[in-house]
C-alpha cells in the first residue's frame, strides 16, 4: 500500500501523519521527509500511526535514525500504533527510544 506523509509544525512539537505501509519500498520517502526537518532542534516529534497497516525493519531504521539525530532529551512519540506494530517495536527493544501512546491526549 502506498505511503502518504503529511508534515505539520505545531506550537510545541512537529507532527508527521502517515497513511499506508512503511516498508522497504516506502521507507525512503519517510526518510526524505524526516531529513527535511531540523531534527537536531526538535524537542518533540509525533508520528501519527493510526493509519499505518505495516511497519518493517526498514521503517524502524528510519525512526531510529530520527531519534538519533534529535537532542538527547527530546521525545519521539508514536500515536495510535496497531498491536502488531507495537509488538515489533517492543520485541526489538526500541520502545526505550520512543513512546507509544493511543491518542494525542495521552502524549
Amino acid at each position: 500500500m502506498p505511503l502518504t506523509i503529511e508534515s505539520i509544525s505545531k506550537d510545541d512539537y512537529h507532527l508527521i501523519s502517515l497513511t499506508g505501509d512503511v516498508d522497504t519500498k516506502t521507507a525512503p520517502s519517510l526518510m526524505e521527509a524526516l531529513t527535511g526537518l531540523e531534527l537536531a532542534g526538535l524537542s518533540e516529534l509525533r508520528i501519527e500511526m493510526a493509519s499505518v497497516g505495516f511497519l518493517s525493519s526498514a521503517g524502524l531504521r528510519v525512526l531510529v535514525f530520527a531519534k538519533q539525530k534529535m537532542p538527547h532529551a527530546s521525545r519521539l512519540i508514536l500515536v495510535g500504533t496497531s498491536d502488531e506494530i507495537a509488538d515489533v517495536i517492543n520485541k526489538t527493544g526500541l520502545s526505550q527510544a520512543m513512546s507509544l501512546v493511543p491518542s494525542h491526549e495521552e502524549a
Binding site: K25, F54, S56, S57, L60, E84, V88, K91, L94
Partner: protein, 163 residues
C-alpha cells in the same frame, strides 16, 4: 519444526529480483496469508518475515543499492515464491522463497540477539531484519540448492484440538 509429511503445493509466483516486482510479490503473499491464515497476528508476522527476506534478496541481487544494472533479463536475478500446506499432527502453512542471485547464507538457523539493552545512540541496527524473521514465524530454514538460495517460512496452523 520442519514438516513431517510431503508438502502439498497451493500456489506460486515468480519474477525478476527487482523492486519492479515488489508489489506483485507482496500482493501474492498477502493473498496467500489471507486465505490460509485469515486475519490477525500470524498473517502480519508472515508478511513481516517475507518482506525482510525479499528485501535482502533484492539487495544482494544488486538492484536495491546500485540501481538497475543488469544488461538483459538473462543477467537479472529471479525470485520464485511457492506456497504449500504441510499436513500432519501439526499442520503448517509453508512459504518457499528461492532466488538465483549470489550465494548468501544469512545464518538464519542460528539464534540472533539484538543489543536491546543499549541506549539508542549506541545501538547497531544491522541484523534487525533477520532477527524479526526468526521472531515472526514458527520455523525458518535456508539451503543452497542447485545454485539457488532457498528459504522456507513455516507457520503453524490451528489443529482440531486448539480452542
Amino acid at each position: 519444526m520442519a514438516p513431517e509429511h510431503p508438502l502439498e503445493p497451493i500456489a506460486n509466483c515468480d519474477g525478476p529480483a527487482s523492486m519492479e516486482s515488489w508489489d506483485r510479490f507482496i500482493s501474492f503473499v498477502e493473498s496467500q496469508a489471507d486465505q490460509q491464515l485469515g486475519e490477525g497476528s500470524a498473517n502480519y508476522r508472515l508478511r513481516l518475515a517475507f518482506e525482510e527476506l525479499l528485501s535482502n534478496i533484492i539487495r544482494y541481487s544488486g538492484e536495491l543499492d546500485a540501481g538497475p544494472s543488469a544488461d538483459s533479463a538473462a543477467d537479472q536475478a529471479h525470485v520464485w515464491i511457492r506456497s504449500f500446506r504441510s499436513p500432519g499432527s501439526q499442520p503448517q502453512f509453508v512459504l518457499e522463497i528461492e532466488d538465483n542471485g549470489p550465494y548468501f547464507d544469512p545464518g538464519i538457523d542460528q539464534p540472533r540477539q539484538i543489543e536491546s539493552h543499549l541506549p539508542i545512540d549506541e545501538r547497531q541496527i544491522g541484523g534487525l531484519g533477520l532477527f524479526l524473521v526468526q521472531q515472526s514465524v514458527d520455523h525458518v530454514d535456508y539451503a543452497w540448492i542447485a545454485n539457488r538460495n532457498r528459504y522456507h517460512l513455516f507457520v503453524n496452523l490451528p489443529t482440531p484440538s486448539d480452542p
